[in-house]
Symmetry: C2
Subunit: 128 residues, 2 copies
Amino acid sequence: MSTPTAARRTAARLVPVECEVAPLLDVAFSRWTTPVLWTLNEFGRQRFVELERRLGTITPKVLTQRLRQLERDGLVTRTYYPEMPPRVEYEISELGRTLGPLFALMATWAGRHMGEVEAARRAFDADS
Amino acid sequence: MSTPTAARRTAARLVPVECEVAPLLDVAFSRWTTPVLWTLNEFGRQRFVELERRLGTITPKVLTQRLRQLERDGLVTRTYYPEMPPRVEYEISELGRTLGPLFALMATWAGRHMGEVEAARRAFDADS
């Protein structure tokens, strides 16, 4: 018979499992990383001020941080033109482009199922 | 000729664009939401203590919060058995299962490209 004590004993034998998806979350799927990558993927090479405008509510500080992280992770390339005055442009890298099919699948999921998520929320809130 | 002032004028005409992927991030792709869903998807129906054990470092407080959020969003179902003592089990819902192909594609991407991300990081850090 299954009792909480038995369940606890079963659980004690379980070892933590590595979620294979988790490492990617920090790289490309967070509050601002995704919109930055998505915008560069959709609209091509852009200056800081263009990205900022398209992203709407991001602060310059957060945009600077995210771009630097994405550059470090090899997903975005930054090109500096030593003109007078200097010009800097950002572009999604070849590695970054490999995220395209994932973005497309996620957008399809959102289009198909976000209505169900919202309905579930309304039902849950009405119940509690 | 393109000057920063011209770029600023171009940017001023840009309107914010909706990132189609962003709404899904809060629902299924965050620090703990993903591992909880992924574990329920991989190992089936589980009690709290089993989930906790498999997730390794999650605190009971955060696990409780994530499960409640996922239940509210319709991705997880919670079944209460009024036994003595009571038993509660968690299971991924039919809606939650539709995330499966996304998880699979993300795991494939991570397996294929995380090495490139790490190499990019080493190169960036050596450079700066």
